[in-house]
Amino acid sequence: MRTSFIKTALFGSVLAFSALTGCKKSGDSGEIPVSGPDVWERKFITLTGAFPDAETATAGNGGTMAYAITLAEAANPNFEVNVFSQGYGLRSQRTARVQGSINGNFLYNIQYTGADGGIFNKYKVEGQKNFIDTREEVNTEPILGTSPRWVVAAEGIGVGVSASTKVKTVDNKEGAGAIFENITSTAKIAVINLNDPRVSRQAEFTIPFTEAQTKDGYQIGRIDMPILNAAKTKLFIGCNLSRTDVTKPSTVNNSGAQTWSSAASTLGTVTLVVDYPSLANPKLIYSTQSNFGNNGYRTMIQHLGTDGHIYQGTGVNTTGQPHILRLDKNTNEYDNTYLFDLKTALGASNNVAIRAWRYIKDGIGLVMYTETGVNGGYLALINLTTRTATKLTNVENQTEAGFSGLTAAQNGGTALTGTFSQFQNIGIAGDNFYVPMTPNGLDGNLYIVNYKTGVVTKGAKLKNQSGSFYLGAY
């Protein structure tokens, strides 16, 4: 039995020793990684994919994987990529909005919730699963919160935004039956220098509605998709304009907080404009051509054209719309003579919704859209000058419901999240668009579209898994 005691004692000391030696700190290796602006040629296309979350396996909600392939691999339909098994996990507990630099040599993201929610990270793309975390971290949480909305507003400049509203009732009455008096909408903006990661400027202000408008219930509770004009003097921010029905008294929710009925807005689509870089002189500009929100969801919906105008898609959260509007480069106002309507351009009988789009050159863009009442996700090349569109038919699988999604009722009890509503980025290299096309939970391919010829090339095979989809190409 004495040997047993010795063994136990030995076990204990082995435990202790291994703990002592295993305690070396990792992480601060000391070497300074390559960073700064993207000054290299394009070498890779990075593909990203969204995992389901841990507790419930909710589709596309559990973090982002990334994998970089060469342009040759991208164009090879026999080349197979499985971002989920081969890829690199970008830092974010939940699927974050990933942005890329112009030639795809850097990826950026701001972590969405979790222990580092609101922390900005930058990665150098080195091919395959090799991404160097530059460890130039920025804490945007004090301004943008732990689940920020941000995009690259111009090469090297990231802009994060946030908005909130506060209702005032007559006599500050609480509970049900209170009468609406006024509402204030507040915006916060943080400018992030992507080449030397830090917050270079920030601002907070009341969104400048007129007194009559706020008393009429107009408000902006969410803003997103900031873009800089070509001269980098103005920042245009998409808004979710809504309106409280001021004729109806308040009701309450379970926690006793007031809730309000909403009324239809008649102001048209609205954009918040501030001066850059001062972020001063906030101003609201209105479109007479469209009345939809323009704060988008996961993907950038405003693009700067080679003609110097900004083209702005409409759509709020997961609801896409068929309109693209123009912000005039000379007046920095809406060009209210201009409207691109995808439904008209395609001659579609049902309503169509732009879920993601990207401008390339010469007035040409690629649109990813869905059609009301039709399963599937479709691609079209659009000409913003002639206001025409060509549906690309050469895409396999495009009629899959996993692109457009199904409700629980349509899908036998379990909702099917559509890839298109979560899609983040269409890649551009040279004259080509790069679009990963995977329905939720099914394999697909990367498609390459030449904007000049309109030729669609089936590229690398994309292996998928349940509750997942490829989110973007960078």
Binding site: T8, A9, A57, N139, N253, G441
Partner: protein, 815 residues
């Protein structure tokens, strides 16, 4: 399979109600000099029957099957004596005379506790009994004690007093019942729980895994932790202790018992106080410093701020014990108060300053138990508790801070500019001052009847009513608009226990039926100062059944089997949410079903005199259907919060179609000569994702993958050695070493160093010294002696190296 197991149990139980002849024994225990021995344990080991002598040394044991047995008698005053007896008539008088023991020889004190522990652990349930006797003299909290137990993982979100989740063999959250003397511990309020009840007030802790006995029935499928408060009324005593340690931690507790032997009047009182600043150092990767311009520096070494914890409480019981009309009759009053600062949310995303909770609870209780009520073999046990508890939350500081308590600076260039005040905001979101009052009535009754020796039938009933009243103290006008929830639960349970083959085979079959009624009062509008309401009432019910079997195959070797099928009904928290915690309601949530199996064995043997080895192993298989889990909502717009930018994480309870946890736990205990005690245990399980098909109807890619965020492999080891007469004659020195290991686990599906809870490996040393008088014990403990960087939950760092000292003083047997 399960039906087979259950019907087997049932058949065995039925077959054994064959009327065997039984007799009673009674007698007197005396010392050589003729003096009677009070409080001696009289034990028939092979039948697991024992009793304690009264103050005159008399004892009686009833219902012993005819045959020959060894009667064992022990106490603090006498040396253990064994005597062969034969039962062959209805009444047998057996008097025992034993040798008096030398005063200092106190080793056998734990005889009674050990038998109780062993009796429960071999009853058929997968249960671990944690004794607190020794721990109460040391600088150990109740949670630390639990965490060292096999198959139990206590996950605490920071330092002392922080929120805790208990994981039993891979089951956690609301599937685990927490009881205090069989009553839901939540009844006693958040100010009186395992975070602050000192081990010295506790007799023992029972940890049931998976299958629950009928007296603990409730809405739990993962198991239960039942804390048994001190009941012993054998000897008058007063004990007091005081401790001081790292992080400005100081604690004190005092308890006393007085019993008048003439009329049985018994008074028991205890009180505790505990304080900790929890300002331990953090230096891990989630310890961040935000520089001017909001650049981030990691591995920032700083003291944990705003985590002070202070708690004070008292428990007073007054009544009678061992009188004609009651074995125990007590009226009790329990009061407690806790102040806890909240340093951050679920994760260390940002520090909170000035956010804190205050909990208070006033609890009155009535406890009645009587064996042989009216007729022999009928016993009644009633435990009724009524409580008023309150939870106060305040968060009104709007400034933005760094972890070291300095204000965040916006700009990198120019004169430093801070974020300033934001009216109406707090640290976690909108400013809050709220109070929730809950009134809870909880009555648990147990009526059991011994049909014949070894066959007992019991009826259990539990009634619970809880009622809550929320007040918004920052916007008092809002209070009356908050929906009120009132929940009433009635649970009936019945079980039948049988002992056969001279007590070698024990079985227990049970069934449960529960009714839950929820009433909601929803304010709609106000006319002339009168609020109109919408009333919403729901009724849900469910049933479950199960059984256990224990067979002593060889002497001291037991095979233990248990199985249960039960439901969890969604609670008001699941259905109505908790707006104060950003938890959304879900009206469509379904009940959760679980089918649990345990197969295990225990074996104790003595390879040589002075050497004792105890082995334990258990395999478990837990199947959950429609598991209720908390999901983070990702919707772009959340109903009722349309205009809110979701900066705050919002969650909701939902059903996950199927889960499974399969695993094994084991423990080896080696004792040498009552001096050396070495123990190693481990628990390993696979918590598997069991959703068969995905949203497309295809086989799910993650089927059978390990579910993230479960600590699936834990090992605990401890060694204790007792030195006698080392500094002074008649003194005792105990030295302890404890080591805990938790294998790293990922918190999300993706493998990433940033979302992996790294290996937790800690080493603790301790020593306690009992002075020769036996009245004073001094303990010194050093925890996490290697200053390991340990995390439990989502990167929240736990304390590093810490030292504690404690003094205990006991006065026994005063008149």
């Amino acid at each position: 399979m399960k039906h087979f197991l259950l019907s087997l149990l049932f058949t065995v139980a039925l077959n054994s109600i064959v009327n065997a002849q039984t007799g009673n024994i009674s007698g007197k225990i005396t010392m050589d000099n003729g003096e009677s021995v009070a409080g001696a344990v009289v034990n028939i080991k092979s039948l697991n029957k024992q009793t304690i002598t009264d103050e005159k040394g008399n004892y009686a044991i009833k219902g012993i099957a005819y045959g020959s047995y060894t009667l064992e008698v022990g106490s603090m005053e006498i040396l253990t004596k064994k005597q062969q007896i034969t039962i062959n008539k209805a009444e047998n008088t057996i008097n025992v005379s034993a040798k008096a023991r030398e005063k200092s020889d106190l080793q056998e004190v734990t005889v009674q506790g050990k038998t109780e522990k062993k009796k429960m652990e071999t009853s058929g349930f997968a249960v671990a009994i944690i004794e607190t006797k020794e721990a109460s003299l040391r600088n150990l909290t109740t949670n630390e004690l639990l965490d060292r137990s096999v198959g139990v993982r206590v996950r605490q979100n920071g330092g002392e007093g922080s929120p805790i989740e208990y994981n039993l063999n891979g089951m956690s959250g609301s599937t685990i019942g927490l009881f205090l003397d069989g009553i839901e511990i939540s009844t006693y309020g958040s100010s009186f729980n395992l975070n602050n009840i000192p081990p010295s007030m506790i007799e023992r802790i029972e940890v049931y895994k998976g299958v629950l006995p009928s007296h603990l029935s409730g809405n739990y499928i993962g198991g239960a932790i039942n804390v048994i408060m001190k009941k012993d009324a054998s000897a008058n005593n007063i004990t007091a202790s005081a401790s001081y340690g790292s992080f400005n931690t100081y604690r004190g507790d005092i308890s006393g018992l007085y019993r008048n032997p003439k009329n049985g009047l018994t008074v028991r009182a205890s009180g505790f106080f505990s304080h900790s600043d929890n300002d331990y150092e953090m230096w891990g990767k989630f310890s961040k410093y935000t520089l001017p311009g909001l650049k981030v520096r990691r591995y920032y070494r700083t003291k944990r701020p705003n985590d002070k914890f202070e708690t004070v409480g008292g428990r007073f019981e007054f009544g009678f014990s061992d009188v004609k009309w009651a074995d125990q009759f007590f009226i009790g009053y329990n009061v407690s108060d806790t102040y806890k600062e909240i340093p951050h949310g679920l994760t260390m995303t940002k520090p909170y300053f000035g956010r804190f909770n205050e909990y208070q609870a006033h609890v009155v209780s009535l406890n009645y138990s009587k064996n042989n009520l009216f007729v022999d073999g009928l016993s009644l046990n009633v435990n009724a508790v009524h409580s008023r508890r309150s939870t106060y939350l305040q968060d009104t500081v709007s400034l933005k801070y760094n972890w070291d308590g300095t204000l965040l600076v916006k700009n990198a260039e120019g004169p430093p500019e801070t974020f300033g005040y934001e009216p109406g905001m707090g640290q976690q979101g909108e400013a809050v001052i709220s109070n929730i009052d809950r009134t809870i009535s909880n009555i648990r009754s147990n009526l059991s009847y011994m049909i014949v020796s070894g066959h007992r039938i019991s009826l259990n009933h539990k009634f619970e009513n809880s009622d809550r009243n929320d007040q918004d103290l920052l916007r008092p006008a809002r209070s009356k608009w908050i929906t009120l929830n009132d929940l009433t639960t009635n649970i009936w349970a019945m079980n039948y226990e049988a002992e056969m083959l001279k007590g070698r085979l024990k079985s227990n079959v049970f069934g449960k039926y529960a009714i839950y009624q929820t009433n909601q009062t929803i304010p709609l509008g106000e006319t002339n100062g009168v609020i109109s309401y919408n009333y919403n009432s729901t009724n849900r019910n469910n049933q479950g059944f199960g059984g256990t079997l224990s067979y002593e195959a060889v002497n001291n070797g037991f095979v233990i089997v248990s199985a249960e099928k039960s439901f969890i009904m969604p609670t008001d928290r699941h259905i109505y949410g908790e707006p104060e915690n950003n938890l959304l309601p879900n009206a469509d949530i379904l009940p959760e079903l679980a089918i649990n199996y345990n197969v295990g064995a225990r074996y104790g043997f003595q390879p040589a005199t002075k050497h004792k080895i105890n082995l334990y192993g258990n395999m478990f298989w837990r199947n959950g259907y429609d598991k209720i889990i908390q999901q983070t909502r990702t919707d772009a717009v959340i109903e009722g919060r349309e205009n809110q930018v979701e900066d705050i994480q919002v969650t909701q309870f939902v059903n996950l179609s199927k889960t499974q946890s399969v695993g094994f736990e084991a423990e080896i205990n080696y004792i040498y000569d009552n001096r050396l005690n070495a123990m190693v245990n481990f628990s390993k399980f696979n918590s598997l994702f069991k959703v068969v098909s995905d949203e497309n109807g295809n086989p799910h890619s993650l089927y059978n993958a390990q579910v993230p965020n479960e600590p699936f492999f834990t090992v605990n080891a401890n060694i204790q050695y007792r030195f006698k007469n080392i500094f002074q004659k008649n003194s005792n020195l105990n030295v302890y070493y404890n080591s805990g290991y938790v294998a790293p686990f990922s918190t999300i599906w993706i493998e990433s160093e940033w979302f992996t809870t790294p290996t937790q490996f800690t080493h603790d040393l301790g020593a306690s010294y009992r002075f020769p008088s036996g009245k004073l014990v001094a303990s010194l403990d050093a925890k996490n002696i290697l200053n390991g960087e340990i995390y439990d939950n989502f990167g929240v760092q736990k304390p590093g190296r810490a030292f504690y000292i404690k003094l205990n003083y006991t006065i026994n047997n005063f008149k």
